[in-house]
């Protein structure tokens, strides 16, 4: 699904933010991306949703080398990726429903299907009453849920969420993570960046731990325990 081989990234002519990143996310996997603020979580996700190009190394997405993709091919790949941006990136002039509808509209889906899906998803994230509201009239947590609804409406194969629980209380955060797990069970590969360590340890998923400008891949805790147990038995 996603494969990095010795990937480095920077912004413009700046220094490398990340270097020597090698990882593989298999289809249907669930990963957290953890690390302190400024460690490059967002930068790692930006590579995955093709907003930045690797300055070094090789990166493949859905089995395609991202280097040398045409603009149209990039657009087509992006339609298979749902992104929850750290700053939401809702379109201010569009209603909640229109924001959520965008991916389907871009994919050229039928208007009645779009309406049906949007209604369904807004109910799913608990915003059925805010259909026609402008994003600016919503709280941070509500906007975040609009962003989540927009990210998942196109039933993406890969979901990249950057601090999707940053603006909600723990109870809603846990509920949202259950939603992501549901999607994951339906086959979506999920990557969630968060600096909420409590949340990471509450769910047992693999972790891409960022530090010192690179990524350490930690397997899920239970498999770690299992590995450890297997190790002691041997």
């Amino acid at each position: 699904m996603v494969r990095f081989e010795d990937v480095a990234t920077n912004y413009g002519t700046g220094p490398d933010i990340l270097h020597a990143v090698s990882l593989h996310l298999s289809p249907g996997s669930f990963h957290f991306v953890s690390g302190p603020s400024g460690s490059g979580k967002s930068s790692l996700l930006r590579l995955m949703y093709l907003a930045n190009r690797p300055s070094n190394g090789r990166m493949t997405l859905f089995g395609r080398d991202v280097e040398g993709l045409t603009r149209d091919e990039r657009a087509m790949l992006r339609r298979r990726i749902g992104v929850v941006f750290q700053d939401f990136r809702l379109l201010k002039h569009l209603s909640v429903a229109e924001n959520v509808a965008l991916p389907l509209r871009i994919a050229g889906r039928r208007e009645d299907k779009i309406r049906e899906h949007v209604t369904e998803l807004l109910a799913w994230v608990g915003l059925a009453d805010h259909f026609d509201d402008l994003p600016a009239t919503l709280s941070g947590g509500q906007q975040q849920r609009v962003a989540i609804a927009r990210a998942v409406i196109g039933q993406p194969s890969l979901l990249l969420a950057d601090e999707p629980t940053g603006n909600v209380d723990d109870r809603i955060a846990v509920r949202l993570l259950y939603l992501f797990e549901e999607l994951n069970k339906l086959g979506t590969t999920v990557v969630i960046a968060t600096h909420n360590q409590a949340l990471v340890s509450r769910f047992s998923h693999a972790v891409l731990a960022l530090g010192e400008g690179t990524v350490r891949v930690e397997p899920p805790p239970d498999s770690k325990a299992r590995d450890a147990a297997e190790g002691s038995m041997a």
Binding site: L50, A51, R78, L91, H93, P103, I106
Partner: protein, 296 residues
């Protein structure tokens, strides 16, 4: 859901306010330029037709001290030649009053009373089907009375045709100039829009929009602006033409009724905004696609 706004909120841009007026201005000028050129053409054609059967012969005034009998003799010689010539249908002498009237604009009123030596003018109607050889006729007249001129109006009509042609070329140049200014304005406005809405466009790209989708937003906007501005321009052009018609109304009995619009001119007024809007739309599309392709 409410009426769906565009994904890229171009309608709130400044361009939305100034571009339609720019387009209106341009359509107005193109419409007037083209219509004045065609009107000019019509005028010339009409005069050409009306005048081609008419010649004027101008016999110069005799020198001082020439007797009345001799003066008459000179004119008789000319009239005789004219009457003899095959193809000449009618020969009529202008009276002194008429000549004075004809020359009044140049020489002032009260000519008839003064003792100025005036040329004699003879109006000649020729058979346009079988006209005489005018060059030969002119030579004969000059031989009979030296200095006699045969004026077939072609000379100044030719000047007039030149003027009409110049106006047409001018109108064509205006169309080209205005067209390219319009295209440049749309390119500029579209580029500005792309840069003002960079963020929205980036978001659309990130959720999978390909360039034609983005271009469509700008196209629609340019089409709407073009139609709006073009319609305003056409309406103003029509109003101007009608107003000129009103002002010239009293004179119009003398002039041919050229200021009534032909079907082609009505067509122009309707078609011009549509063509302009279509050009604006295509320009916006190509600008967006071209600019985006150059982006990383």
């Amino acid at each position: 859901m409410r009426r769906r706004p565009a994904d890229v909120p171009l309608a709130k841009d400044v361009s939305d306010r100034f571009l339609p007026w720019l387009v209106a201005f341009m359509v107005y000028f193109v419409a007037l330029a083209v219509i004045s050129a065609t009107t000019m053409h019509k005028l010339v054609e009409r005069w050409d037709k009306g005048l081609s059967g008419q010649l004027t012969v101008e016999v110069p005034p005799p020198g001082p001290g020439v007797s009345e009998t001799e003066r008459r003799g000179r004119i008789d010689r000319v009239v005789q030649i004219l009457n003899r010539t095959i193809g000449v249908e009618e020969v009529a002498l202008y009276g002194a009053e008429e000549i004075a009237e004809l020359l009044e604009p140049w020489l002032g009123a009260g000519l008839a009373e003064q003792d100025l030596p005036l040329p004699e003018m003879i109006a000649v109607t020729i058979d346009t089907e079988a006209p005489p050889d005018l060059a030969v006729l002119a030579e004969q007249l000059d031989e009979a009375v030296p200095g006699t001129l045969l004026n077939d109006h072609k000379r100044w009509l030719g000047k007039f045709l030149d003027l009409a042609r110049t106006i047409q070329i001018f109108a064509g140049a205006i169309v080209l100039l205005v067209g390219s200014i319009a295209v440049m304005a749309v390119v500029f406005v579209t580029r500005t829009g792309l840069s003002v809405h960079r963020e929205v466009i980036e978001i659309l790209h990130l959720i999978g929009a390909h360039d034609p989708y983005i271009a469509r937003q700008f196209q629609r906007h340019a089409l709407a602006l073009g139609l709006r501005g073009g319609a305003i321009g056409s309406v103003f052009a029509l109003a101007t033409i009608l107003a000129i018609g009103q002002v010239l109304g009293p004179v119009e009995s003398a002039l041919p009724p050229v200021l009534s619009l032909s079907a082609a001119e009505w067509g122009l007024l309707v078609l011009l905004p549509i063509v302009t809007a279509a050009v604006a739309m295509v320009t916006a599309r190509l600008t967006v696609l071209g600019t985006l392709t150059r982006m990383p």
